[in-house]
Symmetry: C3
Subunit: 328 residues, 3 copies
């Protein structure tokens, strides 16, 4: 694995999941794999879980992580080719990235969408420019349209749950495919589509589940990620008999970056959960309590959000491990 | 020792002081005690000495410290139970803390008082919520009402001075109890009562000194911390024959968070020092020169503020060492 | 070497350059030299290359670097003696620096000029106060008037180019002195004179080149740094037959901190480069593309800006190594 920016960079999802779970069982099993190597963690916007988990993952492999909050600590970067830089940007990615490539062995980057111009955001210019000019492996810590470390974590967490079911439940051992539902939830702000896009892309590529996406009208996601899933505006129908319910808000894709319907009825409650197959409830966090998800769900026995967030470390460690191995 | 949030967490103050002074004599004596362990240092407000000294202390014990400036680098946290999070907070401590508990082995937190609502501040909701939900040892890097690492440092520094007096001065060796005076000082801003509360609590618990607190009318501190000390509005009387003078500003406790009298006459000067027993002058820093404390004192032979600030490392190292030992 | 704040701290430039190039050949050759030692990196203003390269250099030597963004993470510092601190500054360097001296083995500081008061800036009060009160070696990460780590890097990079010329070109091996030109370039903001001052000071002290400085009228630099160089307002004449062209903007020195002429004609282009001796083009970065330097130069074969920025690591490593060696 050279870069890690989407599921397309992963030769075999289950092998990567297995690797992550091996690190969860023994975090220091490869503690010298990254000795003498450095990873730069560049944040163009804030992050907590992603920052901490990736830093910890790198340290578990013996690498030296260096965190750099671009903008706060450094410079506003320019990404457009041929820009006449007489405005607010002070350094071009064409100049900054090659230096990062000399300073580090792996570069991890957190970028963000404007939510103003869909074509710009979906071109993934920022991360593509870093890949083009850095000359070293690049790991996405969330980009304008995708969040692959989160999605890998989600598949790891789902796999763990399926493995732990006794008698063997759905999934490989149980013979029956689990039903995974991604449901839109209300929020107070227009959010990126990254997590929803990425989760859809990974569940589809994984191919081991019946996958249903439910959201109000006008919240259709980009088909390049959702194709293969059943899509419905009827949340009740979607939730029925679900084994996993992934809750997430996103803003509109077509009329880009808007909040249309923000119906509080879409918030998941215990009452709604009653129609599922005692589903595990997932969320990437941070979550707005009692707006996106009710206290009763988050504090109840079906929530696996803490397990999910904790697995971020093992997802990052598996990815860095693969990249280090391919550099040998 | 499981948590460290006040003197009540310390089984035996002198034993902890002794441990700290042993680290001062040989900082790397336990350099593998924390190997493979991580401490998260969460700052909800800025810090210099506390941040650096705790980070260094952790490294001296072989731990990996990870600093995270919440808010600046991450998220605004919600602490109220059952909050409907449609406002400015983006993550609840109930969700954030357990993840910290999975990422780290020890969690150290710097919180702050609002200085607006006394009941809220004195409930210590922030640090209590972290303790409740993190599931790992929590160290206070200053909370809404207390600053125990500072106070431990202060007792360490006083002990050092008493040990170094020849012929043996006051204190254990000398047979006579030292006189310690905490005096209020002017300032330009309303400050928390943390350092004054905590110093009072520790000196009282230590029990090896005659303890006098002096301040203008209306600056009475919370009795739960000061009980046992002699309290007077007459600074001259208080300073007489003092062995240690601890200088600190604080805002009012009763009519909460206000500045009443801000009389510059309360600033300590060499003239005032003349009536003491050649007292050592202490301050937790940062200090507003020529407002809280005069240049002549800070640059003179009686100031031990640098020694005091430097001892912060050994205080933190002793505390982390105790917590690590209890985790074995 | 005790401190590193200008070329005057360096006993022998070529020996330091040689040391840096040895680290470039084998970065971990002295990987335990700094074991058990700590360097504090204090930033009073933002930095990317300097921050990352110094942090990496310290780690290569086995030191623990601790980055602290003063102001952002900590306190506004006061530098004036006898200040009555009732304003916005919360801690005096007289109190902060000695504590840094206790916490760290080496202190590296990034300060900045106001560009408002020339006497103040050129007094280098900030860095001098740190040296006076810290009691440990101080390394400039750029000060109000100089940027010695950048200049050392520049001499390293020039030396590398001269060594790599076959048949041996100008410089020591070739027998002919290279021609180095420092040319002013347009910019959108008034910038410090640091890099230009420092480059001039180092090239003059190195003494192995014909050194020409060119800039529009009114942009004369301080003679204490430029003395020995040929100075001309005719850029075309200056560039003729040049082996190295160092491009940099600076604001006026005499009528301090102003932009007078900002003629875009001063931007270096391929056409201008044609009259040189196939000159290597240098810039300290960050660079405003198509304002200070054209895309065609930066993306062309003559630019060595990436090599130059990458050499920052080895410059810092050589300096820290010298200081560590002198502490033994």
């Amino acid at each position: 694995m050279k870069n890690f920016t989407s599921v397309h960079d992963v030769p075999q999802i289950d092998a990567l999941v297995k690797k992550a779970l091996a690190y969860k069982a023994d975090r220091f099993k490869d503690k010298t794999l990254g000795a003498g190597k450095r990873i730069g963690l560049l944040f163009l916007n804030p992050s907590m879980r992603t920052r901490l988990s990736t830093q910890i993952a790198a340290q578990n492999l013996g690498m030296e992580p260096i965190v750099f909050n671009v903008g706060q600590e450094g410079w506003a970067l320019e990404f457009e080719d041929e820009a006449i830089m007489s405005g607010s940007t002070v350094e071009h990615v064409k100049d900054a990235a090659p230096i990062m490539g000399n300073y580090f062995d792996i570069l991890a980057i957190r970028t963000f969408p404007s939510l103003k111009n869909r074509e710009d955001d979906y071109s993934e210019l920022y991360i593509k420019q870093f890949i083009k000019y850095a000359g070293i492996p690049v790991v996405s810590l969330e980009s304008a349209t995708l969040h692959p470390l989160q999605s890998l974590t989600d598949i790891i967490t789902i796999t763990e749950c399926l493995n732990n079911t006794t008698p063997p439940g759905r999934g490989e051992a149980g013979g029956k495919r689990p039903k995974i539902v991604l449901t839109w939830a209300p929020h107070v702000k227009p959010l990126p589509q990254c997590v929803a896009n990425s989760f859809s892309q990974w569940v589809n590529a994984w191919g081991k589940a019946d996958f249903v996406i439910t959201h109000p009208e006008d919240y259709e996601l980009d088909e390049q990620f959702t194709k293969g899933a059943t899509i419905t505006h009827n949340q009740d129908e979607a939730l029925k008999d679900a084994d996993f319910v992934y809750v997430k808000n996103w803003s509109t894709f077509k009329d880009y970056g808007k909040i249309y319907n923000n119906d509080p009825e879409w918030m998941l409650t215990n009452k709604k959960l009653a129609t599922t197959n005692n589903a595990k409830v997932m969320h990437c966090l941070p979550v707005r309590r009692n707006v996106e998800l009710s206290d009763e769900i988050l504090d109840g026995p079906n929530s696996i959000v803490t397990q999910e967030a904790s697995n971020r470390v093992w997802a990052a460690q598996a990815v860095l491990s693969e990249i280090l191995a391919s550099q040998k």
